[in-house]
Amino acid sequence: MMPELKNLEHLPLPLNTCRPQWLANIQQRAKASFDRLGFPTKNMEEWKYTDFSSLSRRIFEWGAGPAATDLRDISFLEPFTLLDEHRLILWNGGYSRVLSRVEGLPTSVRAGSLAQFMEKDPTLLEAHFTRYADSDRNAFCAMNTATFRDGAFVHIPPGVHLHRPIHILFISSGLPEKTILSLPRTLVVAEEGSEATIIESHIGWGASGYLSNGVCEIVVGKNAQVEHVLIIKEHPTASHLGYVQVFQQRESRFRSHSFSLDGALIRNDFSVGLGGENTECTLNGLFTVAEGQHVDTHTFVNHKNRAGRSRQLFKGIVQGQATGVFNGAIVVAKEALQTDAEQSNQNLLLSEQANVFTKPQLEISANDVKCRHGSATGPLDESSLFYLRSRGLGEHQANHLLTCAFAEQTIEGIKSATLKSRVSELIAERVNKFWKGAAPWGV
């Protein structure tokens, strides 16, 4: 039985009797950290524009797994899934063996329920689990670490190249009059020389009464290559917190493509530690914010060693009276000579009331480095709109086409062509809603 979960200000610990001692210690510490940090307030620089404090007063409940009726028809997942993927499905944070599909994986690869691997293979997890995500300073990470019940675990042994992506789907399903707490937790370990694509989707199903607070840790071993594609399509009035922490060993490559496609209040943190020499990291992202919604994206690229190369491109599309926030930090340590870092944030405002706050943050302690950043915010280009209309495209279609074209750059570079077109369809569908109501012939 789960302990009662009432007010998030007093987190209970999960009664998991099978927990190894090291994990119990970590969870105790995370709980203490959460109690100490409390809910962030707008007075904190990191949370200046994004206010989650109203959540602290809500009454939460633990979410259940999929009901039999849910399992009868899971067609709502179709827009997200690919034919040729390995699939892990977690329902309100709990692993669903019935819905998952991991049979085709090479036998040396581990992929499945975090809780189960915690019992079967704790030593493998102990080396990495919670070692990267910062529960000491990040309250929501501490909350997840202290109270998570299950999650996804992927381990790719040295030298293994996965040809098909591993797709981890987190489904959060709320209740009409209650607030369900969903705690997605992921650990991906790609050992030396391995190669893999991990897709992580966060999808809302059913009613909007839930908060999803996820933490994902990714370790990219020496000379390994990991592509991480993150899709967030929560219920339009649900709240989502996501924290991705990546650690890169020498000569590794990490590529992230993230798409924030729906959710009322979203905060995403991407934190990458370029720990080894000669590492390469690309963070590309798109956030779309509809009327009444709020999306906050924070990136933290930490160049700790020499000759690291990082590229960030984040684009925002903001509609109606919505707000987007982008805060991009690049830190270059004294040892990180010959660092080459670039960051760009471009935002498209679809209305005069739309708002974007963008802030680059550069902290450079090394000489002989290249660091660039740039930002631009504005409406759709009038001349382009006219050009399209002069070729017969209606105003709605022209706006739609140009908005999708703005997003296009963020999906370039996704390796799988089918995944790319999947994402592009999801973006087009989202953008279509933004332009709904525009007269088809501009009259």
């Binding site: 280009d381 006219f386 050009y387 209309r389 002069s390 070729r391 296009e408």
Partner: protein, 260 residues
């Protein structure tokens, strides 16, 4: 096909077109020549319906309909095509996809079924070949990184695919070398037909050496000051626009003489 009567148009509150009259019948090719700032491009934008180009007086009747009451997309769907002097670059939209969206939007308006991907590809490939457009340009973003000549050829390709009834070509010849000029001119000649009218807006006579117009007009300070056959273009080329102004001044003073 097209009747322009006493057209006055302003841009940013400044009057550029000041009482322009023009009559173009089906199948005719008209050339409008004039120096920089005479209002040539403004006329093209007014015909295309560009926001910011305000018509303050006069009327434009196209195939019996009031053109000025139509949105830019409606004009296009009704068969008007303007090849722009500076075609816009649109990163993120593939040329082929753009053509597909345009042709299907127009077909839908006219009550035809939309073309599927294969039909469209066949059509575009065939037109691209006829217009001397490399296949590679179809996959690239619209006009992005195209050379001057490629942009102009791309406009002609769009015209060939969309099959307009009235085409207005705004300085399609400018900035082209001799070979590019010849290939663009060939494209235009291929599209000449008894049902299709064209207005060639040009600064120089050289395009008219390849595409022979039925009528030539001289535009100056927002008005047509001289009209004639193709020989007018040759005369202009030889004698310069100053000669046309003299002609105009002579006729104005002549008229004044009659009044006196």
């Amino acid at each position: 096909m097209l009747t322009i009567r006493n057209l006055h148009a302003t841009v940013d509150g400044k009057e550029i077109i000041k009482g322009l009259n023009l009559e173009v019948r089906a199948g005719e090719v008209h050339a409008i020549m004039g120096p920089n700032g005479s209002g040539k491009s403004t006329l093209a934008f007014v015909l295309a319906g560009k926001p910011g180009y305000e018509v303050t007086a006069g009327e434009i009747i196209y195939e019996g309909k009031d053109l000025l009451a139509m949105s830019p997309e409606q004009r296009s769907c009704e068969g008007i095509f303007v090849a722009f002097q500076y075609p816009i670059e649109i990163p993120g939209v593939a040329n082929l996809y753009f053509l597909k969206a345009a042709i299907n939007s127009i077909r839908k308006y006219r009550g035809f079924d939309e073309l599927d991907a294969m039909e469209l590809l066949d059509l575009v490939r065939q037109k691209a070949k006829a217009m001397n457009v490399e296949k590679g340009l179809l996959e690239r973003s619209v006009n992005q990184g195209f050379s001057g000549g490629e942009k102009k050829r791309n406009e002609i390709l769009q015209m060939a695919v969309l099959e307009p009834r009235l085409a207005i070509l705004d300085e399609t010849d400018s900035g082209l070398d001799i070979d590019a000029l010849r290939s663009v001119a060939n494209g235009i000649n291929t599209l000449r037909s008894p049902n299709r009218s064209m207005i060639l807006i040009t600064h120089y006579q050289r395009l008219l050496g390849h595409v022979v117009p039925d009528q030539v007009h001289v535009l100056s300070q927002g008005r047509i000051i001289e009209s004639g056959g193709r020989e007018l273009a040759e005369e202009l080329e030889k004698k310069g626009y100053a000669w046309a102004y003299e002609q105009r001044d002579r006729s104005v003073s002549g008229a004044a003489g009659v009044l006196q």
